[in-house]
């Protein structure tokens, strides 16, 4: 109780209240505009938050992260375009509801489900915090190294069918982090004698390039979409009543969100997928899923909103971000010399609880705002795409230039913007680069510290937590390998089913030539000739 009171004391400031309001309203707006995700907004706002107190800066960013998914549901339901990437599943059941004339019901249900998910996860984590405070000190250098390695591995294997290139891009991120002066032996690494590379490549420059500037390029080079909005009819409060009729689906989905959010590299998509599948399998009307099922909408929205609070757990308890947005938030901690990790949970538990309480208040603020302002808010989806591109490019300048007032940083950010643009065009992930940069730095420091006390390789995993983490790494690798083999087998089977010999004349000649020249071909022809002779001898 004392802990909660001291956490409330931290939050009782006018600048925190303003940050909460700005974060919640700004997040909803950003989420509601298709093409501007929370990553773009957080990347742009990061340098501006450096001059604020850690609690104020983090509240703004956390507010945008937590409330953008509420806003993202609006275009997903009304125009079948997800506002943020994680709202893609909302379109499955949300848009069919709009199509049959129930947009208000869908929106109100989505808000209520999101609110439940958000509040459920925060309460879970506040209750869970004392346990975390006990577990976190068990993490020494080698455990943090293994946890970071596990996080990176999970991010890579989560990209099904693209694991190899995701791994290569994660390694690219690790490489970017090594550029510059090495801080222990003071040697230069890949600076090519250039002064501007001596200080290394700044994470924010890369983040702004890969997320904000690249998105501006995508929008600027694309066509505007024609949008037709549906008129809203009916009450906005019916969703709360409807949600109370599906407590099982809502709580299980929120549970999946909390669980998946805590595992680095897994996040919203897996949580949504699991909760949606669960809801469909246990529903009395599974045939409605994808055709405007309220249970489907509840499962998708509850799960994705339960993730932000849970995603803060690995960041706060171990200093390991699980995805791009928390990786950006890590830099706010570093700027203020607050090092998240086991120490934070032991010494500043009230700060951690204050962050969770801020997230709780934020959910309430967002719900109230949305219940009353949706009608005016939906107009933001009308902003033309290419004009949004102009706005993002203008705002990106503030983000990059205000960092160090360096034109070189801007050139680098523009370069990374181009890389991000190419990755987006090819549907390749940019997140592994960011996590590679952040986790690569953590792994380098922690491995060096850990190896100083290790004599044999087995000493590395002789502590229980290290051993468990190592076992999980092996398990993840084994499961990924099995999945690759299974995919390969399926591919072979599919190829055998559809395969026919080449119909080209060149291919036919090639096979004839092989048949004449290879020993096996000669044997087969000799056997056939023998059989033919026997056959002709009969007559």
């Amino acid at each position: 109780m004392d802990l909660i009171l001291s956490a409330i004391e931290i939050l009782m400031r006018w600048d925190v209240a303003l940050a909460l309001l700005a974060g919640s309203v700004g997040g909803v707006l950003i989420g509601a505009i298709p093409g501007v995700g929370p990553a773009v907004a957080i990347a742009i706002l990061l340098p501006a938050t450096f001059s604020m107190d850690p609690i104020v800066g983090l509240t703004v960013l956390l507010g945008i992260y937590g409330s953008s998914m509420y806003g993202g549901a609006i275009p997903a339901i009304l125009i079948n375009t997800p506002g943020t990437a994680v709202n893609a599943l909302t379109t499955y059941d949300g848009y069919p509801m709009t199509a049959r004339g129930e947009p208000r019901r869908a929106l109100s249900l989505a808000y209520s489900a999101s609110f439940f998910g958000g509040v459920f996860s925060v309460i879970c984590l506040i209750l869970f915090a004392p346990v975390l405070a006990k577990v976190a000190p068990m993490f020494g250098s080698r455990e943090i190294f293994l946890a970071a390695l596990l996080g990176l591995l999970l991010v890579v294997v989560a990209h099904r069918g693209q694991a190899l290139i995701a791994g290569a891009l994660a390694c690219f991120g690790i490489f970017l982090n090594t550029i510059g002066m090495e801080p222990v032996k003071y040697t230069q690494r890949y600076t090519f004698g250039q002064d501007f590379l001596g200080g290394g490549i700044n994470l924010i420059v890369v983040v702004l390039g890969l997320f904000a500037i690249s998105q501006a390029f995508v929008l600027l080079t694309d066509e505007d979409e024609k949008i037709r909005l549906t008129r809203l009819r009916g009450g906005m409060f019916q969703g709360l009543r409807e949600l109370s009729r599906h407590p099982r689906v809502a709580s299980v989905s929120a549970g999946f969100g909390v669980l998946m959010g805590m595992i680095p590299g897994v996040g919203e998509f897996t949580a949504q997928f699991m909760s949606y599948t669960y809801a469909q399998k246990t529903s009395k009307r599974p045939q409605d899923f994808g055709r405007g099922s309220s249970e489907g909408l509840i499962a998708a929205e509850t799960a994705n909103n339960a993730v932000p609070a849970a995603a803060m757990v690995p960041l706060l308890a171990l200093g390991i971000p699980g995805e791009a947005l928390t990786a950006m938030m890590l830099s706010v901690f570093y700027v203020h010399n607050v090092v998240p990790g086991p120490g934070l949970f032991q010494n500043d538990m009230d700060f951690v609880v204050a962050l969770y309480l801020a997230l709780l208040i934020l959910n309430v603020l967002v719900l109230i705002f949305l219940l009353f302002a949706t009608r005016s808010l939906i107009q933001v989806v009308r902003i033309p795409n290419r004009f949004l591109g102009v706005c993002i490019l203008t705002l990106s300048f503030v983000g990059v230039y205000s960092l160090r007032n360096s034109a070189t940083d801007c050139v680098m950010a523009a370069g990374f913007g181009l890389v991000g643009y190419i990755l987006k065009r090819l549907s390749l992930p940019a997140v592994p680069i960011i996590l590679g940069m952040v986790l690569g730095g953590i792994m380098e420091v922690k491995l060096r510290a850990a190896m100083a006390r290790v004599k044999t390789p087995f000493d590395f995993i002789d502590r229980p937590v290290a051993f468990i983490l190592f076992s999980i790494i092996i398990l993840v690798l084994a499961m990924h390998l099995l999945r690759v083999l299974r995919d390969r087998k399926e591919l072979k089977e599919a190829e055998w089913q559809t395969k026919t010999s080449s119909m080209s004349f060149g291919g036919l000649m090639w096979r004839r030539k092989n048949s004449f020249l290879k020993d096996r071909g000669k044997q087969v022809r000799a056997r056939h000739a023998k059989l033919l002779r026997r056959l002709t001898d009969l007559f």
């Binding site: 340098p47 501006a48 001059s51 099904r160 069918g161 693209q162 190899l164 290139i165 791994g167 290569a168 994660a170 390694c171 690219f172 690790i174 490489f175 982090n177 090594t178 090495e182 032996k185 040697t187 230069q188 690494r189 890949y190 600076t191 390029f217 600027l220 080079t221 033309p384 290419r386 004009f387 591109g389 102009v390 706005c391 490019l393 203008t394 705002l395 990106s396 300048f397 503030v398 230039y401 205000s402 007032n405 801007c410 050139v411 523009a414 913007g417 181009l418 643009y421 190419i422 065009r425 090819l426 549907s427 690569g440 792994m443 060096r448 190896m451 100083a452 591919l491 190829e495 559809t498």
Partner: protein, 176 residues
């Protein structure tokens, strides 16, 4: 005819081969330079060597990038790949816009350059109606007021502001 392998490839085909080739070539080039660009320090443990992590990263890039290239279902660059690279080149125009904006702000000033840059780029994007131009001007003013005036982000005063008379000069340096 599209093969099963091609059908199962995640993402579009265009540009994939060129990107993978360029990525592996760059990674291999950087790996070749590792002896020149990193140091091997005597009396230092293997894992603490400054060369260790660049080697891990570049090794991973070459190995995994190479495997990705090897497992790609295409071996030839088609005209669709070349069209895609041309599309990547189109984005360079906006890089130039961005860099012009970056270079002009310290000389002319954040507010004046933003007031020209945003409407001009809006015009370039094909929004010619007076309404959109006024919206873009409003957006430009709002950005400068919020970030420089309200949030006080670090954007230094321009060279031109030095020529303004006394009180206006310090006001312009601080807020515009």
């Amino acid at each position: 005819m599209t093969t099963e392998r091609e059908r199962r490839f995640p993402g579009p085909r265009r540009g994939q081969l060129i990107f993978a080739l360029a990525f592996v070539a760059l990674a291999a080039l950087l790996l070749v330079l590792i002896g020149d660009q990193t140091a091997w320090v005597k009396k230092t443990k293997f894992f603490a060597q400054p060369r260790f992590w660049p080697a891990v990263a570049l090794g991973g890039m070459v190995l995994m990038g190479g495997l990705h290239l090897y497992r790609m279902p295409w071996r030839r660059v088609t005209r669709f790949d070349l069209n895609e690279t041309r599309r990547w080149g189109q984005a360079l125009e906006y890089v130039l816009w961005f860099m012009a904006y970056v270079l002009l702000v310290p000389i002319i000033g954040y507010l004046p350059v933003t007031l020209v840059f945003v409407p001009l780029l809006t015009w370039r994007m094909g929004y010619r109606s007076p309404r959109m131009i006024w919206i873009s001007i409003g957006f430009a003013i709002a950005v400068v007021l919020v970030f420089k005036g309200l949030l006080s982000v670090r954007i230094p005063g321009a060279l031109l502001y030095e020529y303004l008379p006394g009180p206006l000069r310090s006001f312009a340096i601080l807020y515009l």
